[in-house]
Amino acid sequence: MPEKVLVIGSGPIVIGQAAEFDYSGTQGCLALKEEGHEVVLVNNNPATIMTDNEIADTVYCEPLTVTSIEAIIKKETPDAVLAGLGGQTALNLAVEMDKHDLFEKYNLTLLGTSIQSIQQGEDRELFRELMDELNQPVPESQVIASVEEALQFTDTFGYPVISRPAYTLGGRGGGITDNEEDLKELIHNGLKASPIGQVIIEKSIAGFKEVEYEIMRDVNGTCISVCNMENFDPVGVHTGDSIVVAPSQTLTDQEYQMLRTAAFNIVSALDVVGGCNVQFALDPYSKDYYVIEVNPRVSRSSALASKATGYPIAKMATKLALGFQLDELKNPLTGTTYASFEPALDYVVVKFPRWPFDKFTGADRKLGTKMKATGEVMAIDRTLEGAFQKAVSSMDQSIPFIPEDELYVHLKQPTDLRYFAIVQLLQQGESVEAIHKETAIDLFFLNIVNNLVKMEEKLESALLDKKLLQIAKVQGFTDNKIAELQQKTPAQIKKIRSEYGIKPGYKMVDTCAAEFEAATNYVYTTYAGINEIEPLPSNKKALIIGSGPIRIGQGVEFDYSAVKAIQSLRNLGWTTVMINNNPETVSTDYTTADRLYFDPINKEVIESIVEHEDIDLIFTQFGGQTAINIADELDEAGLPLAGVPIDTIAQLEDREQFYDVLNRLEIPHIPGSMCHTMEEALEAASSYEYPLLCRPSYVIGGMGMVKVENEKELKSALEHTDARHYPIVLDQFMTGSEAEIDLVADGHDVFIPEIMEHIEPAGVHSGDSMAIFPSTNLSSEVKETMKKYARQLVQKVNYHGLMNIQFLLSGDTVYVLEVNPRASRTVPIISKVSDVSLVELAVKVLVKDPDFSLGNEKQPLIQKAAVKYPLFSSHAMPELDHKLGANMLSTGEGMCLGNTVEEAMAKVFEHLPNPYEDEDVCLIEAASIVKGKSSTLSFSHWIQTKEAKVYMNDGNSKDDSYKRIQALKSGVTVFTEPTTFNAYIDSLAYDPYQPTPLPGNTKKECV
């Protein structure tokens, strides 16, 4: 067996590759360590738990490219590589490493599925050949390398057709079309998106049922199917953008087994060792089926299947990759049965995707073969009605209202709003048959939705007797919703409920439908059946509120904080209870906390859990804005919140109160006003000079935040603002540079590891800016001022816990821009680079640990330099101009570490070519003067060349925007800020191949 294993992570979060690989990677690393291996991890996503020093032995935040990996291999001399847990990124990298003979050259074993099998699964042509050999039907398709070949295909087989570029993630660059004009563009872009210049063109089988299986296979050839899943949305919508139920609901046993057997045959022929996902399209009117796709690795679906069943796929896949057999491994949930069995569910699971269209209001909402969701939620219940309602509640989004005339538009061409359009149509009395005809969604599912609509009608008119209330609760209606329909208050409903003795029960996820005794801590709320979960025995019990689905502005970094909080609390002797609903995360791994409630995050659910478990403290600081937003309601209900009182949070979050605090402390802030109506805003605006920054309240990642140049723009911005985001704040827009601090406070002392400095000037959302940590360009006076302001603020409001403060530096003045009274996006970065867990310190403060004094905490000595950079999912939304501004656009972040800032910066830009070596790679069309060398071609010529790689354009005109979008569509890297571009050009002089591990790994501590 190998001793030192190099694990490849999936890198920063982008659409199509999100937190699920933190979950699988973390499980994998722990499984390797459990078997006594030393783990070296490469992953440039700093926001993850897997890059924490307690998971792997050595962690590198380095570029995920062949040259960079080779440098690490030279330094670390591992025995083996594990690439099956890092998504498409890691799998592609393994294939590239093989092409460069790294496995042979360094005598490395690739654990798990072989390169040859990976290629057979991923390369469309090889895959098709194999399917033919196995007699497995695949849709009419052809691998093509030119637009002409695509046209020949449609001449023969007709439209509609699907384009799927080879070796891409989340269907990048793919699409579906029914006409020649769109086809040409689709194929052109697809060929560019594919790293091997191949696209598979495929006859569409839209309308078939989409079913997938999660298969495990060991080295001895034993196969099991962990879970199957059926999409609510028929074939035509990417599975990542589909509502999914588990297990399949509308398949007969014959159909279920037919597809399961087909999956086994495929996985066996591919000689997969580990996990594999197989997707099918099943004709709703016959036993005909097609194999759509095979992913010979753990995936988003396998994370979902793990959470849906309790079966830890990634952990088992890792052990299988090490050569263990399924019947040698125990099923960790029962502890008595073995891993070689198939989970039986006695509940149903529903997954809803979470899309970014609330932030990307200008994006194309149509769903197709290219994934657009940033995250997802999962719900468990004993009825499908209940699970659907829980899923919708978990989305943390208000239910959209769709204008009458648009309802059918969402049905004909699926969008993120289709489910809600269906609900609205059913409410208006449309028949399920009519909707089925339009959408091909199975009547079984439509009837479930219709049951909910009918129940809603009943609740509006009928007397709320015990039976009706019981059924409503079983169907997942919240007290709030029932109250609204019955025209009562939620408190009244709660009272009626308790009079009737209708209480939530908690049931266990045990993989075996209660057949065997299991001692799991994985539970869910239900009203269908009695409670079977006894409260945990403990005298100190903490509830940690999670952050829900991944979305722009609220990513995996909040899961990091929640998980770290759990670990810290456990170390202090607390019993921990987690509530979250995101199936992709480490926090919803049932082994993370002492008990996991997989449920929607709302007051009713939390209140019941607190009552049931007798929780001593609720932690809302570690679950991002989602958790903070609910603090008010929890406080009102008299629940025990850890940390600062609600009115203190309001003092920091409510602009009016916040500016008042700053004024009293004589801390400079940007001139601005709070406006409760559009009229107020327009009046206030007249007293300032444009440009102004217009920002709504209680939002994530600067949602709806815009810079407006004149009254007309302001008016148009306000017209798009949701009523619940009033009051809005109008700030004077100021130029300058930005910096931020993450601190831990105990009301008196503050602990600030260092200051983070932004590359881009003010006006660019902090989540979208590149940043240096620790800062190198700030004077000690400025730094001291920032720290002084931080201390003053903390002491003024008697703040306890984690706080993030953003500053604007203009001339000699330090302005405080905003305060986030919670764990911020940058907490994991600062904790990892400075080797001090800020979350742990905050937890010690919040639980008033008697052995801890924040004032005694030593200032860390930071010896490395880190550069944090944003990642944009432009592949999923190429129609959007990604020009940086006040509204956050990035979906994830990366980090590179170096001995110097320059070295770290060189790593950030390592994947980009050098225009000084070949000027054709870069085109600069900047209004400002920037460094670098530009091609002399015109944009329209340049973008056609295959050298085109980097485009710099910071212009504000429509034409500039159009060109940037064109460049993104062609897969070119686009810069929109001179400072970022200059940083790239400057970095070219430095060597990016000096692997620098994160400080504080366990191995080092032992030395």
């Binding site: 057997t261 009117y285 209660a514």
Partner: protein, 354 residues
């Protein structure tokens, strides 16, 4: 209308009764953990006289069709579910599950916390239960001799294949015959009470079918069966497997709660390969009792180590406790039927045409 399932020890579970039940219906209460396959389960003669509790909460989603019956009518005495679908949309469905059960007057109870019943059976073992309007204890009367109710007294023939197989019927699932026919066998199903017919038919091989209840109900036929087994290549399935064990002098015993469902891992003792099987049995072959027989264990259960298959060292006799014919459940063990048929020498192939 409220209704109850009451178990022997007095545990009572309330639900919604399918109709105005006039008198209690009794049966052995068993749970099935598969997530699909209710139609096959309800019509499988091995469930004769039992009250089946489905652990999966949504039953009836795809209705009842004409293709997936394991016998001509429901075999169970009663059904307990959380939800039972009243409408259907599957293209094959001809009737909803609810209507089907009502049509055959099979009482069923819905809105029941089936997980709680399962836990009770898991900890206290399989027991008698009663479905009734009120909570009434079941009588002590334990049903015996179910095979006599489940078998077909008539001889029937299927298929046109080269190899001729006689299925000895203890209450066979039609999938067994269908699998044999599909693999090009000519099948004659004879009742286990007419064993002498075997010699008249002089087939190429014998399949001992599944069936309900205690294999010792067939004790008086064992001597005759052993002679047949020694004379013809034989495959025993489930009950038939237990019969083979008994015929060769081994013993069977009752499990605390049976294996039922579609996810039971079985290990091929020789190759070490695991496959997931469909199972439905209360009784197992006592492994120790095999010591005094010629039989060898060929398959074993991964979870509890129980005997899952037997092999005769010198004669072409093999058996499986699980259901290689699947329906419901995984098709992973279909190869066993293939292997059985392939290994039968087709020396008598000509006779079929004669």
């Amino acid at each position: 209308m409220q209704g109850f399932l009451t178990l022997q020890e007095g545990q009572s579970y309330q639900g919604e009764a399918s109709s105005d039940w006039q008198k209690p219906v009794e049966g052995e209460v068993v749970f099935f953990t598969g997530m699909t396959g209710y139609q096959e389960v309800l019509t499988d003669p091995s469930y004769k006289g039992q009250i089946v509790v489905f652990t999966y909460p949504l039953i009836g989603n795809y209705g009842i069709n004409e293709d997936d019956f394991e016998s001509e009518e429901p075999q169970v005495n009663g059904v307990v579910m959380l939800q039972c679908a009243a409408t259907v949309s599957h293209y094959q469905a001809t009737i909803s599950l609810k209507d089907y059960l009502n049509k055959w007057n099979v009482p069923f109870l819905t809105d029941v916390d089936t997980r709680e019943i399962t836990k009770s059976i898991r900890s206290e073992g399989t027991c008698q239960g009663a479905l009734a309007k009120e909570s009434v204890l079941p009588s002590d009367k334990v049903l015996t001799g179910q095979i006599y109710q489940a078998y077909n007294p008539n001889t029937t023939c299927y298929g046109e294949g080269k190899k001729h197989i006689v299925v000895i019927d203890f209450g066979y699932k039609s999938s067994i015959v269908e699998q044999l026919v599909e693999k090009e066998a000519k099948v004659t199903v004879i009742p286990f009470t007419n064993l002498s017919d075997v010699y008249k038919l002089n087939p190429d091989g014998i399949v001992l079918s599944n069936g309900p209840g205690d294999p010792k109900d067939a004790t008086k036929y064992l001597t005759e069966l052993k002679e047949i087994l020694e004379a013809y290549p034989s495959l025993g399935i489930c009950f038939g497997h237990q019969i083979i064990a008994l015929a060769f002098g081994a013993d069977t015993k009752k499990l605390s709660f049976g294996h039922r469902g579609a996810n039971h891992p079985v290990k091929d003792v020789q190759s070490g390969r695991i496959f997931i099987t469909s199972q439905n049995h209360n009784y197992v072959v006592d492994e120790e009792s095999l010591n005094d027989t010629v039989l060898e264990v060929s398959f074993s259960n991964v979870n509890d180590g129980s005997v899952e298959g037997l092999l005769h060292p010198s004669k072409p006799i093999l058996s499986a406790q699980f259901h290689p014919e699947a329906n419901p459940g995984p098709e992973d063990a279909l190869w066993l039927i293939d292997e059985f048929l392939t290994d039968i020498p087709s020396k008598k192939g000509e006779k079929v045409y004669a």
